[in-house]
Symmetry: D2
Subunit: 375 residues, 4 copies
Amino acid sequence: MSSSDKKQIKVGILGATGTVGQRFIQILSTHPYFKIHALGASSRSAGQEYGKVTKWKLNTPIPEEIKTKVVQECKPTAEGFAECGVVFSGLDHDVAGDIEEAFRQSNLIIFSNAKNYRRDPLCPLIVPLVNPSHLSIIEHQKKTLGLEKGFIVTNANCSTTGLVVPLAALEKSFGQLETVMVTTLQAISGSGYPGVPSLDILDNVVPFISGEEEKIEWETNKILGGLNEEKTEFDLHLNEKKKLKSINVSATTTRVPVIDGHTASVSVKFRNINNIKKPTIEEIKKSFKEFKCEAQDLNVPSAPKHAIVLHDLPDRPQPRLDRDLHNGACVSVGRVRPCPVFDVKFICLVDNVRLGAATSSIMNAEIAVEKGLIV
Amino acid sequence: MSSSDKKQIKVGILGATGTVGQRFIQILSTHPYFKIHALGASSRSAGQEYGKVTKWKLNTPIPEEIKTKVVQECKPTAEGFAECGVVFSGLDHDVAGDIEEAFRQSNLIIFSNAKNYRRDPLCPLIVPLVNPSHLSIIEHQKKTLGLEKGFIVTNANCSTTGLVVPLAALEKSFGQLETVMVTTLQAISGSGYPGVPSLDILDNVVPFISGEEEKIEWETNKILGGLNEEKTEFDLHLNEKKKLKSINVSATTTRVPVIDGHTASVSVKFRNINNIKKPTIEEIKKSFKEFKCEAQDLNVPSAPKHAIVLHDLPDRPQPRLDRDLHNGACVSVGRVRPCPVFDVKFICLVDNVRLGAATSSIMNAEIAVEKGLIV
Amino acid sequence: MSSSDKKQIKVGILGATGTVGQRFIQILSTHPYFKIHALGASSRSAGQEYGKVTKWKLNTPIPEEIKTKVVQECKPTAEGFAECGVVFSGLDHDVAGDIEEAFRQSNLIIFSNAKNYRRDPLCPLIVPLVNPSHLSIIEHQKKTLGLEKGFIVTNANCSTTGLVVPLAALEKSFGQLETVMVTTLQAISGSGYPGVPSLDILDNVVPFISGEEEKIEWETNKILGGLNEEKTEFDLHLNEKKKLKSINVSATTTRVPVIDGHTASVSVKFRNINNIKKPTIEEIKKSFKEFKCEAQDLNVPSAPKHAIVLHDLPDRPQPRLDRDLHNGACVSVGRVRPCPVFDVKFICLVDNVRLGAATSSIMNAEIAVEKGLIV
Amino acid sequence: MSSSDKKQIKVGILGATGTVGQRFIQILSTHPYFKIHALGASSRSAGQEYGKVTKWKLNTPIPEEIKTKVVQECKPTAEGFAECGVVFSGLDHDVAGDIEEAFRQSNLIIFSNAKNYRRDPLCPLIVPLVNPSHLSIIEHQKKTLGLEKGFIVTNANCSTTGLVVPLAALEKSFGQLETVMVTTLQAISGSGYPGVPSLDILDNVVPFISGEEEKIEWETNKILGGLNEEKTEFDLHLNEKKKLKSINVSATTTRVPVIDGHTASVSVKFRNINNIKKPTIEEIKKSFKEFKCEAQDLNVPSAPKHAIVLHDLPDRPQPRLDRDLHNGACVSVGRVRPCPVFDVKFICLVDNVRLGAATSSIMNAEIAVEKGLIV
């Protein structure tokens, strides 16, 4: 069934006036079957036209039909949400927990970009190019909470997303990783609006992003881990009982004067099982180049043609030049070379506002549609 | 003997119109005993007034007495150089090799910022806050070349300089290091003028600097190594015969939109000798804070009050706010914390155009004066 | 006849590896009827594949079919050019004069972005949203030079282009202007690659662009002027004999740390003919909003839906947010308000690399096709 | 009497934790006779150590003795203020009005950087390099308000300050001006901290600063105007009854990605009195170069050696290279050239956080000390 044959699905957007909410609107306004139906924001904006309460910061205009749409409060009973087949959440974490739970309890389906439920043992944490198989815990989530329809799916932190895609390619080709050392150079858009004051970042680097390193170190293991056979429990790499399997991740996160696009310097060591010969640099490059993921197999509308774009030029990827590849839905990898300390070093780049945020939520929902989880 | 009592020493500057040359002039114009006497540049500029041939790019004006000084060719026979007690070289590496050799053969003393002689087994590669003891190979250099007076001393690559100072502090307190993983975020001034095109770096990161990673990985071991008893050979950490002692360094170098100041994300593992207990984070912080170096003991004019400034705020050091500390002659260290993979992670920052270039050359020369090597 | 029915026209690109040349390729690779057939560059690149000799700096990849195309020398006899119905020139002015003349003498049709022939009394200087009627001098150009087919059409300097579109709207509605005072804030891409060194522009403004102010002051009058009845001579506003009609333009041009998009602060005084009442701000806004140009009437493929986008928000237009409107083919105008000194002040913005360069050339050629000048 | 012989004067700083407050502290910490005695901030900070409540954003460390100083509420009765000979105010305008009035009523002397009293007919609005003579209205201010000692002196808006210094030089040499057209390119620090969000200004220009154009257009006339003979009333250029004398100022203000330093593009027309011959460009340059002001005659500690630095290089002044000249206490002027519309065009540059803010307040106070107004 092609996308154009799909029946239209009404969607809601929570946090619609914020940075991630604006991206949801920009991307969804041309979506083949998701149709924006309800917009939720703070009570300060509710009751007013979207165009009047939003400081729109994207370089395409507000879609005409959205401009005059009346914003609702973020309540499941607010006009429009009840009819939504999917509700996307771009809420700030300080309010996301309660609001998303209220929506779920009202039997609504939430795909959230917020961090609140990422560590929840019932909620899948899905990078669509990596682990859509984790959606199979949803049955257990609904059952446990006694809900007929409502559930929450989260996507990963933006910088984690850019990292786990190449790591997944490596694990798929060469088995489990033992150690990952990563230093990120993150874009200002990752911190929303108003976000980073210009006085802090012009001609500067801020070598600290609160909570970010912990997210990368923890989320990586949940995403790259499996589910048990009963599809009721995550086989966390970090799981204490299965210590051997966890990947030892060490992250340093910094902010740089870049608008969009998180760059990461990564060094990786493979787990040495049975003294199997380590892959060559050429074999590693090949594994990146040929990496195929379920989102591509399912051919969902937001899936990139290539999950990983491998760059050959020695000075790529670069955020300004490469973040727009495949509409920001892929991860760029370059400078694949031996590491004097571990096995291989490379640079990776993700569009933090698209694959790192809104596009992941949307692609996750597309995959859920394809798997019959949204009806 | 205080600085003001020192007798004046005439100095020459090679590559005087370039980025590093301009810094030499800026710093030396207020030096207590080095007096600028001769300026050397390409034959295109020779014979003309300095102010007329130089695109001065510093935020202090050209010193008045330098503005009208006539530029010479970079030949030891050009007017003025013969009287110089010290010749500083800010030459580009494509011409530095031959010119510096010609000056040395004319029994002149060169302190060079160029990379050409850094790996020379007769030339000391000195970061003044780390290994001025390497100056003792100079006797052997002069003897081997049959020179009465002439010699060459080099200082390190700018990013290496920022790294080895905290590494030296750690080795001084806790013994030898085994592994260093470093990712740098380097300023545009590191590449000179015109250097990095603005189209390449505005709203961007360039994850590659040609030859830079190799410099960090190699120079670190020469600088942190020793000299044999006869003061004729460097006890390179990389020395094949003494393999165990070399530090395994893995560097990734990137360029970011910062004017001055190289930031580095560093993770370090101590060599585990006799299962000695590893230092705590507090002990490591203390070692940074209390690090004292020979340049400070000798109280040379350019020595910073603190070789390392330890920052407690979680988001420091930052290039724009911290590069000017102690006139750019110290290294800032912050975010000292445990590394899940190695022993300790931290951020360090060096002013690449001062301690990372001109200030190192000048401080090296001051130390040489103090040790009686310049007469 | 719709664009898709048009017969394909082979086109050549001179200066194909440069900044403007890359834009020509990017835009033309999806053009409905212009097909890239020949690529010309310096003899250094000639004979090699385009992808191998070009430092591609756009954020979309080199079109696949162009990557392996062999680059030719910029000679009319070089392979491929003879078959081209149109040759676009993105050459630097230091070589454009001779090369474009050689192509014209070979009866080829050149649409040039270079400045060399802009002041030529036989060559039209056309901003496609303003004065395509000037194409009617081409007959005279060919006749004068004794050429059957070859001619040269130029487009304006990038900053002039952004200025004359709103000026044309004002003149169309309210008659001739007397005085224009303009200060520009120009993007770095206006100076090509490598262009502006990053050390010159990060955290900085350079209040000078060589030759730029003269171009704005002079070109504005040629573009906004007419042709005589015989279509053989430009009725320059600057024409000495018709002094009264020239617009008094005073320009100051500056460079700011913006990648693409020239902003201008403009103040304008209407010529007071017969003491006619001056238009109100509302009438002026209406004239901008409703401005229609011949390119739109002809419905050529590159014509924007709106020639001028009028912004109501008090802090717009902004280069980063508005340069992409209508694919960079329109001019944004905002902050229309009374001027205490002249009649009206406003801010305008043009995408300097699209409407300010390649898009103008292409749209000019499209108009020429529509007018039967290219056969 | 030299500065060092002056008796120490205790000073207070209101708004001490803000951007301007930090500059007051930075500059005053090395002042020859003003000694920081009391620090005032919001009740949120009051009672705590300065170093603990301040996000210090300058590139020199907090002075040691200030770090541990306890912050007070901004009340004249709060500890320490009663003993202050001068109170500097870096308060935000939303609170400055009431607080400064309360301090004045308590017979304290306020030098304020806030805008609240700039238009007050009793308060002098002083740019120290231009109109310290306006201090003579203070007697009238105190008398009118029935205060023995308390008064308020304001300094100008940062962008006005940079403009009026060269205008004053022109008026001094060539008589009154008729018209001034100015477009500014203002630094982000002008909007305080957090101020401009980085997402708004990286790779961008914001062509609007709320209220700024009105300030320039109005303040210029008060500053360049005189006082009546009785020293009780400002002879405003804008004064309706003396309409002929007001300068017609038209300002456009924009924000650019520059940290410190406001640049302005200025065009000026002289008032044509008795058909006197207009000055030549050389004469105008001379008038800038030789401009001397009262602050220099009085030789107050913060007075720059040159009030105006005239630049000869065609691409100067530039904010990054020239804002630090004379410790940011002068105005740089360059590109002095004929204007096709008015008489002369030039570029000027002021350090908006020093002469444009804190340094003006301090220099005004120094002049008041010299004139015996502070006892």
